[in-house]
Amino acid sequence: MEGTNNGGDLLTVKNLVKYFPVYSRGILLKKIVGYVHAVDDISFSIGRGETLGLVGESGCGKTTTGKALLHLEWPTSGQIVFEGEDATKIFTNGSPERALSMRRNMQMVFQNPYGSLDPRMTIYDIISEPFRIHNNVPRKQWSERVYALLKLVGLEPYHAERYPHEFSGGQRQRIGIARALAVGPKLIVADEPVSSLDVSVRAQILNLLMDLQKEEGLSFLYISHDLSSVRQISRRTAVMYLGRIVETASSEDIFSKPLHPYTMALLSAIPIPDPEKKVMRIILPGEVPSAIDPPKGCRFNPRCKYATDRCRAEEPALREVEEGHLVACHYAENFM
């Protein structure tokens, strides 16, 4: 249901870095005074037909990571390899045709279904716009494809003539998904696709994404702050904190035996919809520090109750502690 990794990796990300410059105040002479370390040297991969969940709190860099994969935010450095090809190189030096074909591989579903659909376009125009740009469907077949896509996401052909404002949030999100599917992508980056929807509608969209994966063999990067939905939909999960991946493993392992103190706290912070199940809540002191000047050593050390001098001096590497379970903590073994 949450996808299987068969046939190797579809996408490999190596040492991805994205910094945003911070300027001094002033009108004439703006100087760069620092950088927001939004994504700071992260590596991961996504298998064919697999869903990787990327979780973290606001400002951890999860959205920037998703945008950097599609080069909607240009990576500062690092490699994004899709089916063996370096995407950054294709977008900079490749021919326009190759760049477009790379675009067709990866598509995005956005968080806000209200802002991401042009209110002046009909649903037909919205979903067929990718055909016009990519020339991947002969014009004669456009309407047939649009109707097929609408059906695939659970809408009706007659919806095609309507405008976005005539739809509810959940339906709009379905339209956004249909548009992403229009170019036949292999990977979809879904950035908080359900967080702006009503609770009773969220399950519809989550189930739709899981069905699409089964039927179309799609891979997903599912970005969310909501760990419950990540558990539901992802085969593997990566947890980010302040620009770094701190832990990654199968969702099963992450949720049943987290080995990073941050993951533990994050999991314990989520209220469980069952009054008889009380968890011991780990309350983290303070807030996420600034990403302009992240803490020395382990970035989590100021909020970690296990932190030692070593944590304050030496940044822990993301290392394999058990098979397929990577943790960036000096003392991960102590939590096993």
Partner: protein, 325 residues
Amino acid sequence: MEPDGDILRVEDLRTYFFTEAGVVRAVDGVSFAVKKGETMGLVGETGSGKTVASYSVMRVVPKPGKIVGGRVYYDGEEILSKSEEDVRKLRGEQIAMIFQDPNSSLNPVFSIQEQLTDIILSHNGGMKKEEALETTIRLLDKVGMPEPETRVRWYPHQFSGGMRQRIAIARALLLRPKLLFADEPTTNLDVTIQAQVLELLKSIKNETGTSMVLITHDMGIVADMTSRVTVLYAGRVAEISDTNTTYRKSLHPYTRALLRSVPRVDEKVDLESIPGNVPNLITPPSGCRFHPRCKYATEVCSEKVPPLEEAEEGHFTACHHWREL
């Protein structure tokens, strides 16, 4: 329910919004009660009327909204018929509210000190400024603000979202209210900060014994924080019961469906989605407003509004078919 134990009783409340598109029946015959000292969860999705119901109790319904019917008893006294002046005294001193968005509920051009001491002074005629400031600092300290003596002079923008919500909580507590409405107090916060704020609310409740109405759509928070739950759907009460019953033996299809549609962090479940969307309240569905989305719906559901019946002691449900559930 023994009426004596209720600090708040809402009966057949109706609040409509008179918009150009038509009359929105946001709250349409809602009844519930809050017992002294309890935390009651007011649960519902967008448009269920949970926020409008609490605004109505506070008598702060924004235009073009109007309370068009019903009675609200606070400590036995009807308050909808009171004069605006009397209600103003009630507000803050007896009933206070923590709003969802601390960014817009704090005034950006005044320091925390000015905003908070003002509230104390306006309700306590003869009090000295120093005394009000002392109270303010003490409360900021209590809600977990570091260095409250210095930071009381700061402006809202100098604080993080979590800290601003703590300030909003301190503000609600200034006049020691007996009933606290918390409207989605953690929705805009990150989960680890949410955990901090929920713990804070719990400790405040334990310390002051205040009654609380927690308005939320998060079934996890409800399970964690409340002892009783009122579930609203499309401007009406669907079900009222103690929290355990809500989760274990609900007698309303909406409550059941809602619980089965939320993913859980502690285990993987088969998500059952509720078909369709939350209805439009200008032309709500006839009969039971949930019937177009309900798998148990029969003919009677589209014809007759189900009354709120007491199925078991303290357990009310508004469903024609509760006996079959």
